[in-house]
Amino acid sequence: MPAVAAASMDESGGATSSENGHYTPQNLPGVYQLPRSLGEMQTPSMVCIAWGSGNKLRLSFLQHSVPAARSNTGTEGAERGNGNGASQSGGGAAVIEIELGGRAALGLDAVEDAEKRRIAYGSLPAFALLQNKRKMLQQAKEFSGMLPDDWWEHVLEYSYNISNLLAPTSTTSMGLQLDKKSRKEKQEQTLLRAVWELTEIFFVDKHVTSWIPEKLVDWLTVYDRALARTEPTVQTKLVALQHKLPNIQFPEDDADYWEGACSALAVGWLDIVIKFLRMHGSYRLDQIDNRQAWEKWRSQVAKLDNSMFWSECNHHGTLLGLKKLLQILLGNVDALITATCHWIELLVAHFLYIVPFSMVAGEILSIARKCKQLKHVSGNENLRELLLAIISNDTEIVLAECSQLFGPWMMAHVVELLTAKSTHAQALLLEERSALGSISLEELHRVIYAQVLSSHHLTWQLSPTYLASCPKQGCGLLENVLLKQPVSGNSRLFLKVLDISRLYDLGVVGTALSRVVGIHNWKHGRRGTGIMWLQQARDDLRLAAIANQLADSVTTFRTDDIESFQHLEGLLDLLDSEVRSAQGLSFLHRYRDFKNSLHEIREYRSSDLCNPKVTVAGRHAADCLLQLLKPGASPLRFWLSILHDSVDLLEWPQQVLLNEVETTTLMTYLQELKLAEARGDVEAVNALSSEQAKQQLDRVRLALALNLGRAILQS
């Protein structure tokens, strides 16, 4: 699997950029080398492993057995100057993060992260569109699951879209006007595009079957320079000549001139051959710019070989050079081998001049292999194998080498090309395998790529599209990706995650995260927001617990603390909308009304002692109190608070607010409370245990006795 293996890191943490650096042979593990600063640290007594999102491996290097005083002299200390955590002695323990396979995720070591993201974002719509088409076509075929015969045309469109995303090509250059400034980045992308388009030719496009040589010539025109990255090609040769020729007066005297012309002819770049011949002092005829019917072509060339021209030609260099060109046209194997550099060039020359492709279609593998042997150089064997495998339609090798060379992005996307028309590839890639946990290779590569995407906060949101096309493990991994998002402190991110979970029918994830955010807000003082999100999560358990907590806090509010009381009121209103079932909620509302009316009384009194509204408000408060004291209306643990709050009403100065019967009711409650305490009722014991409670109790008793006396007298 490619996700972690194919990267080699140097000391500074960057990927090794040497030619062979990231092409780790499959049987050897990749090596991530720690930065030297860590290497010089005293050998850690323990390393703690943890995983972040995606492929992020986090390692803590600890040396807790080493006393602080012996802390080393490392300069990596990174003291943050906040004085409350960073080591004052420098060095010490450290936490590092390695993004496994991160740099090799696209197989483009030199490509900037931003460029990789551009490709990742750009390829998503094409992928999604193709998946949608597949879905629709499969549904149209009444669940037979079979794709129509013209499916490859959809894949071809997808392939064009993807290919356009990769490094832009300059088809007009004919390989000669090489941009000197083209950086390694471009080269790598171009190589990726070269492989992509070659795969498209051999695996997707059914129309090109009869003119593959022409396609190959075109392909070489554009991508020969990409091949030149790892080994010499005709293009390298021509570029060298391009600089040399303008400075020579008589090019036809130079052997390189003729060699260049031969090479260009061998790989079928006729435009370039013409350019070469035009440089010749005596060039007149334009007779080799059209490929003609094979036999006619051959006989014409043979005729040319025997023509009188040769005896008339008195320039020795031209004579030899033209003879060489003729040998190429005649398909002289040795001449072709000499003229070409890369084995694909030789293969193209073979199809152009030795045996036409239509006659050898079945033997393409053996011819390609032979070309590869003849042109054996010590270059990038993976790439050579990959090109050979593409040309010979060898899906297994294409998969293996692509994964080595290009990593997860390529694997997730190239599978579509491979399965476009080849039934063998379809069987290989779409079959569910028990060794993979009952998923197909196709799904595996999508899952791997999605995990790579989820490693980064700028790309994780692309992963759902890929996971949605994974029937077995997509949902499970998507849940994990979403649940690992840092939603609690980031409301924008949270809303986005909620949207995604709705879009993909992952209600449980939305609920779980709403709960996380709800509780986070509740515990961090944003109680209203907390309640709202818990309601979204339909978390009755936590909402009931909150209602309980609020009920407890009601008793501790002073009636003049209007601000917090209003806050509480707001919270109760919030709770009321959905949690009618929560125990004690109606009590809370009654108690709130009671507290409100007491507050009103104080307000009136503070402005004007003789305000007639005071008495009305007093009577209203008494009514609220009696509502609270109906059987079962109030939990026992609040009785004392209620009774204590009623002292103001009992000691009403102007008149008796609570009559004899009402006062007796209050007294009954007091008695019940004491009895409950005597019985060992936990709520009652708790309510009466504090010193403050005892004082309140005495105060209530006194007020009750006084009011009862007044009430009896009045009646």
Binding site: L38, V47, A78, A545
Partner: protein, 325 residues
């Protein structure tokens, strides 16, 4: 490769929270620190935002609880007790307070892990006397109130010689939640002086009997003597089997555990890999978020990464080592 934080040299234990945005660090001097990603700048360096003195002795282990209960951390020290801490807002400032402490006379906690089941938050503790205790949170909002839900012995005493058995370490791994639902199932292994009992067991709370029962043993014939240092249970993203990794005294072991669809039938355990590249003790094993990659750390000082190839054969894919090796 990026350095996220430079910790004090005395840092003795670290743990990341659910989303990897916060790091809890226990130090050898008994302090607990919470580190957080520095805001702004786009970088990923962390700085210490909270620090408090939790113990007199060093912090031995620290873990995070499920975020559905807030920012919760449990820690243990050399005194063997477990303390529970939570972050709350006080006077417009977030602060950490101690909620409760789990302690047992004459014994110490060897390992502890939170499970977030439908019935609420659970804490499983493997005590050094061989007893496993499961604590339930009573009120979903109040981390101060816990009750003992279960208390059982990991090893069934058949020979009456249990008093001579001693336990030096333990490892617990809950079965990770699927669709946000965590089943009351965990794997547990003690490291003891009795070779026969160094085996990882899978415990499940059976509703029918209302008790925890051992439903599987991760025991391969001929390897009974290998003690277990670490367990890790992979998140099941859709495999027909569970993946459990065991870091033993001599190898990384990977087990498949297949739960039956038929109620009451015990799961079938099958060992699929025994990887000995560490050439010695394997101290820690840890699965990534998909269960596709396993990381292990051993006495050779190297972190190794393992993946199954397309034939299902587990292979070493990469190693992390210091420059001087």
């Amino acid at each position: 490769m990026e350095k996220l934080a430079a910790l004090e040299a005395t840092a003795s234990s670290t743990a990341w929270n659910y989303c990897g945005e916060r790091l809890a660090v226990g130090t050898g001097e008994g302090a607990i620190q919470v580190w957080e990603k520095e805001r702004g700048g786009g970088g990923s360096s962390f700085s210490c935002i909270h620090k408090w003195q939790a113990y007199n002795g060093p912090v031995v282990k620290i873990i995070w609880g499920s975020p559905e209960y807030g920012d919760v951390v449990a820690s243990s020290s050399t005194d063997g007790n477990i303390s529970l801490w939570e972050e709350i807002e006080e006077n417009d400032q977030s602060t950490w307070r101690k909620c409760t402490q789990f302690e047992e006379p004459h014994t110490a906690a060897l390992d502890f892990q939170f499970g977030n089941c439908l019935t609420g938050l659970k804490l499983v503790v493997a005590w050094a006397d061989g007893r496993v205790k499961v604590y339930d949170m009573l009120d979903t909002l109040d981390l101060k109130q816990w009750q003992l839900q279960a208390d059982f012995l990991n090893d069934i005493v058949v020979d009456g010689k249990s008093e001579r058995r001693s336990y030096s370490a333990a490892s617990i791994a809950w079965r990770p939640p699927v669709s946000s639902i965590q089943q009351p199932i965990f794997a547990l292994a003690y490291r003891s002086n009795s070779l026969l009992h160094n085996v990882a067991k899978v415990w499940e709370f059976l509703d029918a009997y209302q008790r925890w029962s051992p439903v599987a043993e991760l025991r391969a014939p001929g390897e009974e003597g290998d003690s277990v240092n670490s367990l890790s249970w992979a998140t099941n993203i859709g495999r027909p089997y569970e993946l459990i990794a065991v870091g033993s005294s001599c190898a990384v072991l990977i087990w498949h555990l297949e739960f039956s669809q038929i109620a009451g039938e015990k799961p079938i355990a099958r060992r699929v890999a025994r990887l000995t590249e560490h050439n010695g003790e394997v101290w820690q094993v840890e699965w990534d978020m998909s269960g596709m990659t396993l990381a292990s750390y051993g006495s050779d000082g190297v972190v190794r990464l393992w993946q199954a190839n397309i034939d299902g054969v587990w292979q070493q894919q990469a190693i992390v080592k210091s420059a001087k090796d």
